[in-house]
Symmetry: C2
Subunit: 312 residues, 2 copies
């Protein structure tokens, strides 16, 4: 059996995964940030052991362990280079895990792990060329080419959210101005919503979210469904930016499938149908074979499944 670990800023989750990409059992615990890397690593070991116990698996039957990290990793040295919300800095995680379990250990960026999970067992199952775009606080990207995760020669590629779509646009945490992430992530949608609410104090969005702090990714979509003009305008603009960036991804990669994930995707067809239409008009088209856009199906499990199986 294969072990996949999702190291998040809030929780650590380990799963026992079979070759079909099914999770047989999981174990999780909160991520303790303020006690250093050793504590986090000890907790990773504990939940791996616990997940095995939950699956009724003898730890000797572990074939390999994959660990998804929210930051850049270096598989040539087995180090986590750093991770924005975790106490890792050139941390030799592979070697430490191998001390306990002498099996193949591979590190992955969490977005890449999720992409591989969707390609292996999710809504892009069986695709050799796919891209996963996750619309969350940020906009994460994971790229699978020829059945393998593609992260460049130094393992830090795939930062599709940090591509400029608006020259000298909104300032991004990465230092650039106008990154796609600032417009098409859930945070980008919230920013667009707040701006429009400030322009239109009569909008139905103010009833749905009486204070700007209460605005979330659903506010504009809810108002739009009620027929509110400002809500519709926000949704239209958001979808325009989302579709534009997806067209960029397709013109570059022409993947068989682009999966989009994250809470915004709960809007379902209200999101998917207009995007498909816009993307079809703004991408290079093949006479018979064109990219499909699908909503990711595995949620948070994608990262566990992908981490478990990407190195196999």
């Amino acid at each position: 059996m294969y072990i996949g670990v999702d190291v998040g800023g809030t929780n650590l989750v380990a799963g026992v995964v079979n070759k079909k990409g099914e999770i047989l059992a999981k174990a999780k615990c909160p991520t303790v940030i303020d006690k250093g890397a050793d504590k986090v690593i000890d907790d990773i070991k504990t939940i791996i052991a616990q997940a095995c116990k939950n699956a009724g698996l003898d730890e000797k039957e572990i074939i390999s362990i994959g660990i998804g990290i929210p930051g850049p990793i270096d598989n040539s040295t087995g180090e986590v280079i750093f991770a924005a919300n975790l106490p890792f800095n050139r941390t030799p995680l592979t070697a430490i895990i191998k001390e306990k379990w002498d099996v193949g250990v591979h590190l992955l960026n969490d977005a890449d792990a999720a992409a591989f999970g969707e390609a292996y067992a999710g809504s892009a199952k069986g695709c050799m060329h796919m891209v996963l775009i996750t619309l969350g606080t940020g906009l994460g990207g994971g790229i699978v080419i020829d059945g393998k995760i593609s992260t460049g020669f130094n393992n830090i590629g795939g930062e599709i959210g940090h591509v400029i779509v608006e020259h000298n646009g909104r300032a991004c945490n990465c230092g650039r101005k106008g990154c796609w992430e600032k417009y098409a992530s859930a945070s980008g949608l919230i920013a667009l919503t707040k701006e429009q609410m400030e322009r239109d104090t009569e909008s139905a969005m103010w009833r749905i979210a009486p204070e700007l702090d209460k605005v979330d990714g659903r506010t504009a979509f809810l108002a739009a469904r009620e027929g509110d003009a400002s809500g519709k305008a926000v949704v239209a603009l958001y979808l325009e930016y989302l579709a534009s960036g997806l067209s960029n991804v397709i013109n570059i990669f022409q993947p068989e499938v682009v999966c989009i994930g994250g809470g915004v995707c709960n809007e379902g067809d209200a999101l998917l149908l207009p995007i498909k239409e816009m993307v079809a008009k703004t991408t290079f088209r093949h006479p018979t074979r064109n990219t499909e856009i699908r909503i990711a199906s595995l949620g948070n499990d994608a990262g566990i499944i992908g981490a478990a199986l990407a190195g196999v």
Copy 2:
């Protein structure tokens, strides 16, 4: 020996290439557009035979033939899907060439062929991950990942010039608004130059190009070197767009090398040094291993070498 053919809108060129990526002999002829696909294909056969003769090569020693096409191809059927400036439309080029020479025949997009040529024998020699950006009338892209040309599941990917860098910006022939090609190609530079000349009728650029029709990719660079403020402004803006798009490419791919080619690159360090500086500030950086930007070294030979060896 390997045969590489560069099918251009102006000329057809065939080369005999050895495994080192050296061209032993070439043959060329003008491309006759108005007599249909058969004439072009006959001419391709003629120059292949002529190149063999020039190299003193018995045609029986041909191992494989690669043909670079300025348009989308489908290697699963061996067809040229179409080519903007050539009389090809679902043309079964592979089968026709194989009738004469029963060897492996593969079709490539010309930008991809050039990228592979630079990766095999040019300024990205030996790189398994590289991207070639060609700054010409358009802005072409070719991507090499894990030592192979990467064009997506339907062979039409790599359209890096058709990524939006300016939301609702300049109208592009592809139907989108704000494509990188409209700002960073040689044509984009010429458009920026003309616009600034119209704003500043005192600019030294008017002496260098007394009419707008005489403007070319060097006009602004020449004026800038003289200290002309408008010339400097054009060069600065052009380099900003070029660097911004290169940073996009690097954030996505993190290739070992990005090669840039095309006439604009004759500016050398006046182009390369400021771009390197801007890109270093606007890309995700690895502690020790980062993308190098280099000027492509093979010129038009890149496409012949790449076509000859990409399918090997």
